[in-house]
Symmetry: C4
Subunit: 229 residues, 4 copies
């Protein structure tokens, strides 16, 4: 069941490893099928070297397993919280990709320092609040979704498809799980660029808003003119 969905989720999980975003087993990608109200996700703690679509877990929107023999990722509740709130997203990815995780550990958002960032993210990549002891004690993974969602009350999550969980690491998303993968790759390069930009100039300032808008809108929305028709 859900074979095509599981094939796509498996392919993206393997791509995370190939693209250098996942060390050991530290990462997971999921995709939602909104028609059938299910989410397919990587199983917990499974090695990437022999992962096939059959290993992918499928759960309903409450997290009950409906297909697959393996336990889903421990982070499944975070994914479900994001799908419940962000109605336009189709895929979610969590990694401990190196430089994005360093910003999360440094408790720093990532300001938009140049057009590379602006081509994908319309402004600062937010840092979540720290989960409280109570939020950690029960429903930790669901609460991790809640603190991410709190960063987007006044912001379209597809205009900035990434957030850094304080002290932990990045989540990205997109209209599809393949878009979430591209956003995860770009986030890591943007975080690496920010690290070395600050190394060159500790007082580097954010890109001017008119350049930020120009670059984001050159690639996104109805007036975009990047790429082929």
């Amino acid at each position: 069941m859900y074979e095509k969905l599981r094939m796509r989720v498996c392919a993206v999980n393997l791509a995370l490893k190939d693209r250098g975003l996942v060390f050991q087993t530290w990462g997971n990608a999921s995709a939602v099928d909104r028609e059938h109200k299910v989410v397919a996700i990587k199983p917990s703690g499974v090695d990437y070297t022999c992962m096939t679509p059959e290993h992918i877990s499928v759960v309903d929107m409450d997290g009950n397993r409906v297909a697959g023999d393996l336990k889903p990722s421990v982070d499944i509740a975070t994914h479900l919280a994001l799908y419940a709130e962000f109605s336009d997203i189709g895929g979610v990815i969590h990694t401990h990709s190196h430089y994005a995780t360093c910003f999360a550990q440094a408790r720093s958002e990532i300001p938009c320092l140049g057009t590379t960032h602006a081509d994908y993210f319309h402004g600062t990549i937010p840092l979540t609040a720290l989960p409280s002891p109570e939020q950690v004690c029960s429903d930790y993974e669901w609460n991790m979704g809640a603190i991410i969602i709190n960063c987007f009350h006044n912001r379209n999550p597809l205009n900035c498809p990434a957030a850094l969980v304080a002290g932990h690491g990045p989540f990205t998303w997109g209209e599809t799980v393949e878009d979430a993968l591209e956003n995860a790759c770009v986030l890591e390069e943007v975080a690496r660029m920010a690290t070395h930009t600050f190394a060159v100039n500790g007082n580097a300032a954010p890109l001017e808003p008119y350049l930020l808008d120009k670059h984001f809108l050159r690639k996104h929305g109805k007036s975009s003119y990047y790429g082929q028709e």
Copy 2:
């Protein structure tokens, strides 16, 4: 038409990827045929994995497409501006190569810190002015060429075949597109060296002018004695 030109441009665009200068699709190389007054350039937003010479766009010096089925890179106007002003160059390359882009984001020129730099660039690699809101609003890409050209009013662009567009990233050029590729590779290594040189010594000073001249002229011009005859 223009088969040889398109083959060369295709090969250099693929080499940008192989050399690690291009992440995703963020880069483009072009070559000019001054006799036929045309420029061949990478198409916009096209994946490198299946690029062939047939995908390469050819435009006239005003940017009108004369061969190829795909839209040229959005940056074509910047390339055309440079070809119009720098009459001795045959190729132009734009990338978001990591360390050179970090200097552009840090709003810092790259001083000549050692003989590696001096072997290729006769002095500081300039940082452009920031484009004004008006320059961004209309003819943005052509104006990006204009702010690069402004850095070379008193300087031969072949003696420093690179510039950093403020907040954006590097452009390089050369007598041929293959030379522009070599300059793009060296610029990235020079920027990476400058980053780590400043990490070791935040007050690192530029190379003495007599050493700068010695190294540049050992490899370039009529008194050069590097390489084979």
Copy 3:
């Protein structure tokens, strides 16, 4: 004799090279067979490119060779000291892996800066005292074990399976030599993350204790719920 033990030790030594933890011949892995009271270890100064299980030295708990034609690693006494004191460990690894060694050279412990660290190490990775001139003068390698052990008087070595020898580099261990390998890989990534976290924020603070506990205990001990059954 001891063929299976030597095969495992050989495989882990080769894996150290493959995982980029060993430069030149700078590293060694060993495993103990507590039933037969022997330790198998990489031979001293031998190239990795042609290492086979036959090259692995086997010594008794006093360091006397009982199998193999080659001298054991000069660090064998450090391994023996750790096996004698840490009764639950089955494997020990020493490397000069890049970032962990930089912390040892900087004379800095590695604080737990995020959940990646907390998933594997329950708190700060300790820095040993500097060996005294007397400790260097005689039984240097055994004394290196002693200064490591001194860091664990009030701490279960399996809850923090790593230490940094001041001015030298890291040792890791585990219930098996394969676990020690995983810990060596994770230690290096954790040290690299700490380096870049401090680059982003020189005042980065340790993870809150309740998050440290949550993550360590989510993966270790009787209440863990990470991975498959």
Copy 4:
């Protein structure tokens, strides 16, 4: 003529590229045959991808070509100066390897910060004086040898087989050209470690002399006990 010598020199030059020490064509290795009073060296500005022993130039101790059709490296005079003064060395290598060059550009010697350094270099890796305008004006490359030699008036060059030419980059040497290669590889890793050690602790101090001696002498000289007999 000199076939074996040219084969070895060719192999080491190719190894410089494989080991990541040479970018573009920026490096050269040579070996001396003291019986026949000749030096074999890489030709100037030649691509590594098709280098064979036939391309290697052989010159006498005054730099006159005695075998090979290609001009020797422009740095040949530096090599000859070192062979003339350092009577026990058999090979010399010059590179622009990344981190060692950054120290040269930062005008900083490399202090011994840990045992990795001490295993190969008995103390600080020296930085040369800057060549004067007169030294640059005539016999530049020979004078580069002279300023290196000046660092070793009170020091055995085989106890510290490397120096950094100020503003330029590293030279290494050894009893054989293969030893010079190993020293070039280790120098680069030691420089990279020093960069990141200072990133973690800007006040990192040199290794205590008794540990420096212990590690250098554990691997070198009549009391060494590292490696096999």
